[in-house]
Symmetry: C2
Subunit: 197 residues, 2 copies
Amino acid sequence: MSASREIEDLIELMARLPGLGPRSARRAVLHLIRKRGALLAPLAQAMQQVADSARECLNCGNIGTSDICDICASEKRATGELCVVEDVSDLWAMERAGVFKGRYHVLGGTLSALDAVGPEDLRIPRLVERIGTEGITEVILALNATVDGQTTAHYIADQLQGRVRLTSLAQGVPIGGELDYLDDGTISAALRARREL
Amino acid sequence: MSASREIEDLIELMARLPGLGPRSARRAVLHLIRKRGALLAPLAQAMQQVADSARECLNCGNIGTSDICDICASEKRATGELCVVEDVSDLWAMERAGVFKGRYHVLGGTLSALDAVGPEDLRIPRLVERIGTEGITEVILALNATVDGQTTAHYIADQLQGRVRLTSLAQGVPIGGELDYLDDGTISAALRARREL
């Protein structure tokens, strides 16, 4: 490549982002250089700010810029409902939906015998602790509908049984979903959980 | 979204990169925050450096970190061959192939009646100037095989006719290409340009 050392370094770093390979990283860097005033400089500053300030919430594991995230800090969100998610991206997805008004607990992964991930590697002890101290009345398990996700949900349910109301997200036909395109597992889950009209 | 202002700003800026949408920008930012020491901070610095130093070569239009790019500055590349390309990305592609040892001239686009791009909007006057001052003996037109690219090639050929040897990249079957998957234009170009074995 004939670009200067600095530009090649930038391309190499950009290529490490998920969703970008070497080719798209080059395209992105060229685009950035063309818009260096309007995009590259602000992006560099935004990254530096986030690098300096981003941290995990000590309470729930959400990512924010203070030791306690905005959701944990907000009294309005102390509804007694606690939504347990695997990952920060799941928390963000729930927040985009904008219907849940309680607080979250981010596990930071799922239990996995294969990868030797046990309860103490996740934020499960902290979850059990929060049930007692934060006046939680309902724990909503919003784990992914994968084998590891469901295993983790079972484990957590075992730990909390009898201490709190336990629910999980409904499984069924997604909004806009066509039966013909759904897998058998989803159809049978939706049939089992059918509702009166 | 429940992330802090700084993180949301970063996601919004990342989503403006080519190849990233809002969803992949969020994924990329989460990945960056998880690797803030190893990736986010170095990336922020690399971007700031490039933002501060990147500029177009005054001679050929390549992007580098000095007023005259490394290729134009290198005496070794003064072979008398000048490769004319549309864009910096094309120059980089040629350099990756690693076979051309001369210098480049980046037009910065193609002539286009529709978009009102004339010769003075491209680096064509500068190209004509370079032929005289740099002892160029051959101009290789490496423009894209599109209508605009070929129109531009014709225009440049008209301008330089008789002053210098003019060539263009060969058209034909790409290496690894299967005839069955090639378009008719490529096959007929390859047949017209067939070579003695």
